[in-house]
Symmetry: D2
Subunit: 273 residues, 4 copies
């Protein structure tokens, strides 16, 4: 049966940090086969050699059109995974859909208006497309568990800890967690005393429905988020620690499998988990 043939996958941005991990992950996935590797560097070289896992017989190219055309001719529905950069991302997604190659987009930079246009375009074509700001299944599980807990807990604070090369605080993912909890229709942390900060900032930032976020920055840290729920006599805490981009690969592979089953554009891996 044709369903058992491996999924043909093209990786754009194949020599970037996420792209390299993706090449390795696809090479190890028995239900997938790499059919193309797009990058601006190492053109003509074998992508397997480039990422250090031995020859894959796939030379790097920088011609997306040719690759999409090839993807369109595969016996199986094919997928293009994009880990490039914001410039031209709208056009690349649109091209892929036009060719009938399902896009899995890890690249940021699409505006809301562009996402709307692409949604309409994918709908008309009955084509699956996944835009994924966060491929970490662990983080999505944490966020879903936090949403479940929010039904029963009135008090929550979020702590995130990152290396001191990170300029922004709080981390985008921690803000996202706070926003997800804030959309549940309640205000957290009803006060029990009049608080007083003797040193400004001690109580952290307030995001969404009165959720406090605290950002620690130190060399030696990697990327950590902890959501702490409290109630009289108990603390329930959810923590996610990331030490390597390898942690995103289960999410990338899942996205590749799921996008084939979709008939429209979906934003967020949590929608297909």
């Amino acid at each position: 049966m044709s369903e058992n043939l491996p999924i043909p996958v093209i990786v754009a941005g194949a020599n970037g940090k996420m792209g390299r991990e993706t090449i390795k992950a696809i090479a190890n996935a028995p239900d997938m086969t790499l059919i193309g590797a797009i990058d601006r560097t190492h053109i003509g070289e074998d992508i397997g050699e480039v990422v250090g896992i031995g020859a894959l017989e796939i030379p790097v190219t920088n011609d997306l059109e040719v690759m999409l055309a090839q993807g369109a001719q595969e016996k199986q529905l094919s997928v293009v995974v994009d880990f490039t950069h914001p410039d031209g991302i709208y056009d690349r997604v649109r091209s892929a859909i036009a060719y009938g190659v399902r896009p899995v987009i890890g690249t940021t930079g699409l505006t809301e208006a562009q996402i709307h246009d692409l949604t309409v375009f994918a709908d008309k074509a009955s084509m699956g497309c996944l835009i994924v700001p966060n491929f970490s299944i662990g983080m999505i599980l944490l966020q879903q568990a936090a949403i479940a807990a929010s039904q029963y807990f009135q008090h929550v604070e979020i702590l995130e800890l990152h290396h001191n090369q990170k300029a922004d605080a709080p981390s985008g993912t921690a803000v996202k967690t706070a926003q997800m909890l804030s959309e549940l229709g309640k205000t957290f942390n009803p006060p029990s005393v009049v608080e007083k900060e003797n040193f400004a900032g001690a109580r952290g930032a307030v995001v969404g429905e009165n959720i406090r976020l605290h950002s620690v920055r130190l060399p030696g840290l990697l990327a950590h988020q902890e959501v702490i729920f409290g109630a009289p006599g108990e603390i329930y805490s959810l923590r996610h620690d990331t030490s390597d981009r390898a942690c995103y690969m289960p999410g990338v592979l899942l996205a590749i499998r799921r996008v084939l089953q979709l008939k429209s554009l979906i934003y967020g891996l949590e929608k297909v988990l």
Copy 2:
């Protein structure tokens, strides 16, 4: 409308550790009214005075039958919460059902055969009855989040930490968590190396489908459980810390509300969450 009348509640074991907390919690719950307090001690005294929250006009009695008869005469469906001890618990549950008073049972000691009998008995009477080994909503949320995570993680270990007055290891709740994960139909922690314990016991106990449990015992600890999932590049951990029996009260109040909506016997608060 009659639905807005408070729920009449009888507490058996009213002067025990859980009973005292329950009396206080009901006194603070706007949708409940205490109608009876049963205990072997302080008979005739006002239970409010006994637990230190001021008069409630409810004298302690040791006559369950009289209380159940009174509960049966209330305009609203009434509930009896039992935090006593194993002796005679079967008869007390059966009596309550016979009187039409819904039981919420926190007392241990019912055998599987007795639970089966009571299930049949409650069914015939179309009466709600809740047997609850663990009233901690936080712990149930942790266990449910762990079950959700088990779909995506292949590796997990459990750490539990308690004060050094606790004789048994691992804690019953940690074993229960391991058993819940083990019922999902997979074996965890496929080995990647041949492990070697240079000091016996270092790698903890194996429970269920190859889940390792580690029990720490120290004065200064209270009751803590941590479920740690691992995958390449990431750790996802769920932790519950208990410092006071107050943490069980949201579960007790929820059980009281839910048992009124049931028509049969249910085992476990997680079933009605």
Copy 3:
């Protein structure tokens, strides 16, 4: 030998929260004997009965002078432990020294000028006196370990977590830790990027030599402090969790033993550890 006789101890504020714990701790200390209990409440009652450990044959009194006179007549050097309140604390310490009874002062409220006066007064009398803002040996160990680590680490942040009944942030003890590290003659946390707070307060408060403090407040928390040092490739963290005033008793008993060996006024338990 007279040195082996138990140390006679008077407790002022015997029925306060710290006083009650101190009465129990002295009753269990083989090298001490309670000779007096001072409080405004329960006058004339046996302090052992008042704190719930059975008769100690020591009636509560509110006459400090009489007790100090009695302490002065003991065969052994005697000690008065004061857990009362700021009003009149200066006079109480001075009286004790005048009577030759060594004071261990847990009560706050002495001004710097008063402490100076008392230091001179104790010096002249060659009398030991201990003023102790923090009796937690665990916290002192943490602070000393943090000072040792500061020699080798350039980056540190402090996290403190307390129940949501605590109004002030950061906690006084966390500020104290930051100040102790700041007195070592270096500035911590040289920046490696230009930081940007997208939500004000995310990066916490700055105390002393550029040390960040973060204060979490949730019901279910007790009193926790964590000092986190970071360097490339490693994190070294020190954490102290307090769940009961019992944790201060080793420090109180140590202070009673040490004050007898002193000939002058000492401020801070860490000086005699």
Copy 4:
């Protein structure tokens, strides 16, 4: 003044994991200068290019004698850092001392008898030599803080967590910590109840003076050790997390500086901290 000239350093095992980090660290240390790089691979290539930091004008060689002779001719006292392997390590240390080049030895495999011989040999020559099983200053600080805490706490357990590629349990460093605490002349963890393991191994391994060790193994973990002290009402815990060999470099550089001030063989970086 000659003291201000940089320290000449030879690295043996320059292309191993620790050697590569050491090359980078020396290149960045203003008070050191690399004068030789020894390895079996990449002979003749510039070691700076080999480790990816650009040319250092130091070609890799595999001739230790030539390098030691060169080190002996430097105007400054010179140091050889050895991160090779057990074979021949005794001879290499002896050679270095004979040449007047101070050895810093990170290689394992020296027997106690060999260390004794080398100690005598270095003593006679009044030559500094450092054998360092653990270059992590953070871990040494943790161990020293644990020793300080052991004076005041009677109860302690150790938790160590590593990736699931690690075969041995407990980790050597955790065993070492337990042994250091056990040499202080007391037995820890006096029992307060008769413990019962319902699943064998739950309470971990017993090492030294009744200290429990627990070893967690999961993918996603790196290398973590936590020493947990408990007393009534409090927990004091010390934790070290390692994510990169970079964390050993401050210890390597410190060892290089310290070995020049020594006149004999010292075992353990903690002795010169």
